[in-house]
Symmetry: C2
Subunit: 200 residues, 2 copies
């Protein structure tokens, strides 16, 4: 039984090595000007191996897409007795901004800013994640409400990232930025919770 475990681990390591090499090249040269052959060379694997792990060049950049969708769905399911349907989603959003108030790494953001193709793909992926969360919420809250709330949940992140950027430009300190970011997340979820709580 040790054999498949080792094999899986090796595969994950190779996958990570390729994605890391790709991000470094993309950050240096831009996404559009980097070829898959260059990524393969930098990661010391064949082009065929790269395509085995990443069917499209964009997948090299959004290599954690599936993992992220799973984490959103787990967040919907992550609920203690007595908690409302958004409790896990609130925890996920808070954790996200506790760990990285400024959002993705500078490398990641620079590559994204330089490629309209990646931006379009990113929005498409974000919409797919949102629809998955909407479907998960719909079973409890109905289709329309599930769709609107999923969209509101996914809208919290861009709002917070935009405000964090503003505050940072205004010279607000890191701790204060984090506090404000978390307060904004909490306020958004407080409002959402109240919008679906039964008014008795």
């Amino acid at each position: 039984m040790a054999e498949p475990g080792l094999r899986e681990r090796k595969k994950r390591e190779t996958r990570t090595r390729i994605a890391d090499a790709a991000l470094r090249l993309f950050a240096d040269r831009g996404f559009d000007r980097t070829t898959v052959a260059e990524v393969a060379a930098a990661a010391d694997v064949s082009v065929k191996t790269v395509f085995n792990y990443f069917p499209a060049k964009e997948d090299l950049f959004f290599d954690r897409s599936e993992e992220i969708e799973q984490s959103w769905l787990q967040a919907v399911a992550d609920r203690q007795p007595g908690e409302g349907p958004l409790a896990g989603l609130r925890r996920r959003s808070l954790g996200r901004f506790e760990d990285h108030p400024g959002g993705p790494t500078a490398h990641f953001r620079r590559v994204l800013a330089g490629s309209a193709l990646l931006q379009a793909r990113g929005q498409q992926m974000w919409a797919v994640h949102e629809d998955a969360v909407a479907a998960a919420l719909a079973s409890e809250l109905g289709e329309l409400t599930g769709q609107v709330l999923a969209h509101q949940v996914f809208s919290v992140h861009p709002l917070v990232l935009r405000k964090v950027e503003q505050w940072t430009q205004d010279g607000v300190g890191d701790d204060e930025v984090r506090d404000r970011a978390l307060a904004l997340v909490n306020q958004a979820f407080d409002l959402m919770d109240r919008s679906i709580s039964n008014v008795s």
Copy 2:
């Protein structure tokens, strides 16, 4: 007193003629490949005149930006006795999707899709409008709530546009698409209203 009215009208006509000529050229050649000199020639005015009306080339595309911001602020103020603070914003959003369920014209969307610069500028403008609405709501609802609700209001439009596109691709008829779009807008505002209504 007739004189200034005529002069104002002439100015508005010139402004519109320049913006219309610009959109036609942008749609034909793309935003990045069109020069201000070409726009001036197509509108039969000097380059200096174009810059008098539109300080930056992007302003030729987003020529209705100020008008749109004013309409958002009027929507916040547009409130009958007994109505909540979001009533006018709901009416504005419903009106928007009653008139044009598919969003901006095909020309406008094609030009926007072809230019990362315009997309960035569009998002920036959208954020400025949102912050103006947030400030207007904050006086009644507090700063955090105003910010979150303004963001939720502005998030309704992208959600509806995305769903309209999906439904249209799925072959749903125009009338049904419009009905669904309006139902989504109403549901979003119902939830927002409930989130700020006093639970007695």
